[in-house]
């Protein structure tokens, strides 16, 4: 595809109080592409995702998603973005299907039970449709959170450690979902700590260190061991 990149970040800087979290980050993700963001805790991965998701405003620089500016046209961005963050965005006192029904209705979308049941079946939670989320395990909550995002049909996925708490089956489902998501022309940006398995669905790997992009390379160009060495090199700079 030669179209404009779905995610475009240019010279992005974010200051929280006295702390410089992002320091002139520039990165692009094209349609059908998945980029992994590696970095130590506090390197700015989550902040970068939050700026792209329009939760946090950048101090300087610009970010666009599907051509919409993350500050000036946040609503335009929100129509395209699906975010998996640390919070599951689920109400503990509602059942699985009630959660989906609420978010679907609140997004102004069709909330008929057949569609919601299908979304639950995808993540193998159909048997727990009428159970309250409070009784769910961490893995089940994560699966329901994924179903919630998938149901809203995003074109850009922002994932903050999406594989954590997933068992093998759920991991496989997510890998397949991300694969077909890319095939349909979606773009993925994923923050992760893993050097091996999580990276398999990604096309490029970027290392974020001290708020800067220290490395941005096609995944096939570096072996996991090489990546580990580079990662250690850049994150030691931080200390």
């Amino acid at each position: 595809m030669t179209a404009d990149p779905l995610i475009r970040v240019t010279g992005l800087t974010k200051v929280f109080g006295n702390a410089l979290i992002l320091d002139g980050v520039t990165i692009e993700v094209k349609a059908g592409e998945a980029v992994a963001l590696l970095g130590a805790n506090g390197a700015g991965k989550t902040t970068l995702l939050k700026v792209l998701a329009t939760i946090t405003r950048p101090t300087r620089g610009s970010a666009t998603v599907a051509g919409h500016d993350c500050v000036r046209d946040a609503e335009g961005v929100r129509r395209h973005v699906g975010l998996i963050a640390h919070g599951s965005y689920l109400y503990e006192d509602l059942t699985a299907i009630e959660n989906l029904r609420f978010w679907s209705a609140f997004a102004g979308r069709d909330a008929r039970d057949a569609a919601l049941q299908a979304a639950l079946t995808d993540v193998e939670l159909d048997a727990f449709a009428d159970e309250r989320v409070r009784s769910f395990s961490a893995g089940m909550k994560r699966r329901l959170a994924l179903a919630r995002v998938a149901m809203l049909e995003p074109t850009v996925l922002l994932l903050d450690e999406p594989f954590s708490a997933l068992d093998q089956r759920a991991r496989k489902w997510l890998e397949e979902y991300l694969g077909s998501f890319k095939d349909r022309g979606g773009a993925v940006m994923m923050a992760t700590h893993s050097f091996s398995r999580d990276l398999q669905i990604t096309d490029r790997v970027a290392i974020l260190a001290a708020g800067k992009i220290a490395l941005d390379t096609p995944r096939s160009a570096v072996s996991p061991d090489e990546l580990r060495r580079l990662y250690a090199l850049h994150t030691e700079d931080l200390a």
């Binding site: 946090t56 503990e92 006192d93 978010w103 209705a105 997004a107 102004g108």
Partner: protein, 225 residues
């Protein structure tokens, strides 16, 4: 149309959560009973004194319950960061405000009806004649209280000292509503016609309009995070 549907989704969700957890309503009912005791102890058994103080006490009860109940408006949204998802879902964010306001009105009306009934029984006052007029005054005052309360609850939800800050912000702004409703309630309980307090009712209507409209217009800026 879609705005109303989205606002309704928020109200429905909150009512469902409240029906399951029963956190707020149970606590408020209990609190209303305690207030009744406190007022009785503070004023003594003298009927006349109680009757005289009743409009003020009634509104004191409503406002104190409001401070407790309204302050919790966004507690469910803090769990699992649902707050963020409300912001990220495309569409007019003031639907959240309208939905939450409707839920709060439901909660406040329930508690207020209970408090009025308790007052009537325990302080032995006959309210039946004044009830229609009283309902109007209470409704007008509650809309103003809940409109600002919902907005300020959102504002203080993510602040550490929110239990302190919420009443500190809300009470001064509510001075007009408090004065208007107490004066109007006084007149209504004394058997005066509503026309006698038309001025206060107009003030309450104006306050309600100003609060609801400014809440609608500014809520986006609060939800932003």
């Amino acid at each position: 149309m879609s705005f109303a549907r989205r606002a309704w989704a928020v109200t429905w969700k909150d009512v469902l959560v409240e029906r399951r957890s029963k956190e707020t309503l149970n606590a408020l009912v209990f609190f209303a009973l305690l207030l009744l005791f406190a007022f009785q102890f503070a004023l003594g058994p003298d009927r006349d004194r109680l009757a005289q103080a009743m409009p003020g006490l009634l509104w004191l009860g409503f406002i104190l319950s409001g401070l407790l109940g309204l302050g919790r408006t966004f507690v469910t949204e803090r769990e699992n960061d649902c707050w963020e998802a409300l912001l990220l879902t495309p569409g007019d964010k003031s639907a959240v405000y309208v939905g939450k306001l409707a839920g709060n009105l439901l909660l406040m009306f329930t508690v207020e009806a209970l408090l009025i009934a308790l007052f009537a029984v325990f302080f032995n006052v006959d309210l039946s004649a004044a009830l229609p007029a009283l309902t109007l005054v209470v409704a007008l005052g509650t809309v103003g209280l809940a409109a600002v309360g919902t907005l300020f609850a959102a504002m203080t939800a993510n602040i550490r000292a929110r239990e302190l800050l919420f009443p500190i912000l809300l009470l001064p702004v509510q001075v007009p509503v408090l004065l208007g409703t107490v004066k109007a309630t006084e007149a209504v309980l004394a058997g005066e016609p509503l026309a006698a307090v038309a001025q206060w009712l107009k003030l309450l209507v104006a306050a309600d309009l100003i609060y609801v409209v400014s809440g609608l217009l500014t809520f986006d800026f609060i939800l932003e995070g």
